[in-house]
Subunit: 220 residues, 2 copies
């Protein structure tokens, strides 16, 4: 598989964006290989999730991941240098899925506060998962300043999604015009942080959305 390591090297940039010679045969080959490579990479990450859910983080072995993905141990190393790199990619993979879901909800055409409720519900689920597993994985992967920079990058991505969401709400006349979208985006990104409380999840979301409706809605 001579193409795979090459495709892997480009992997991080891959999303159809960095193709410099569109239309050429080399590009088509690259796209085909990169797609296959991405699929296998994803399969390894999904297998890692299954292994982590069954066995936990301690004692996680690349062999177990390879077995769960039904591939050879060596193939895992074609995609991830070591366990550290695999775990880091895994957290990024789950976070990316969350951001994709968040963007899909935000880009929907429904009323702002319906979208907000769905978004907060998805966020609460993500935070639960993060606390239970990905937080521990993230702690393995990065420490100190590196961890802070990495987490800040993830936070900033969510913040951008929410800032755009607020701008959209203002543009549609559903939110007050005097709001600062960046700051309201920051405030929204904090929501979903307190689910470890003995309150009913549905009632909590209802109350939260009601407060925000009054707090940022155009007609309040």
């Amino acid at each position: 598989m001579p193409g795979i390591p090459h495709a892997r090297a480009k992997n991080r940039e891959w999303n159809g964006v960095l193709i410099k010679n569109p239309g050429g045969y080399a590009t088509l080959l690259y796209v085909a290989l990169a797609t296959r490579s991405n699929e296998k990479r994803r399969a390894i990450l999904e297998a890692t999730i299954r292994v982590l859910r069954e066995q936990g983080l301690r004692g996680l072995k690349i062999e177990d991941v390879a077995r769960a993905a039904e591939i050879g141990k060596g193939t895992v190393y074609l995609y991830f240098r070591d366990k550290q790199e695999l775990l880091k990619a895994l957290v990024e993979h789950r976070a990316t899925e969350f951001y994709a879901d968040a963007e899909a909800i935000v880009r929907d055409d429904r009323p702002f506060f319906e979208r907000l409720r769905d978004l907060l519900e998805r966020r609460l689920a993500f935070i639960d998962e993060w606390r239970g597993l990905w937080g521990a994985v993230a702690a393995e992967v990065a420490q100190g300043e590196a961890k802070k920079a990495w987490l800040t990058g993830l936070h900033e991505r969510y913040h951008r999604i929410l800032t755009d969401f607020v701008k959209d709400g203002v543009a549609r006349g559903e939110l007050r015009e005097d709001l600062n979208p960046e700051l309201v985006g920051a405030a929204l990104s904090a929501l979903g942080c307190a689910p470890q409380l003995p309150v009913d999840r549905g009632a909590y979301l209802d109350q939260l959305v009601e407060i925000w409706q009054k707090g940022v809605g155009a007609k309040s």
Copy 2:
């Protein structure tokens, strides 16, 4: 110092509350010893904070703490069985200080939203500190279910303070009467979670308080 281990055993309950025989000589002696014991315990914890700030968590030694507190190593062990117990007590000490500050702000006699702003500012500072140091310390101390239960206990305490705060706001006619104080308390406890963003802290707090003023204020 025969009284110290006894006083230490009662330490956790100590706050003047659990005295069963008020006025007796034994009680006076107990109070005197417990106060002295509490002061030394506190001095050890404050010394641990200084050592952690200088050296970080890795390689923290009881000797260093003893030296910073200007006491013998053996004395530290009179108060804390091991490093684990010391670190756990330390996180609880800092959290308790935060809760005391939060309660003082909440019990103040100023308008609700002035108190809310101060509370959120204090909370942001606490979360910053928690992320930078106490989170790592907490990760050393507890894992899995034990950690979850312990963190939930801390969360619940903050939640109670905020629920009472909301009830107070409603009683004074500053907040809407149709709010559910438990749920609004939960929503308030989430605020302060997103300071790792490139937004101005003061402007963020202003926007947040303004939204909440419209969202939960009696006159909106």
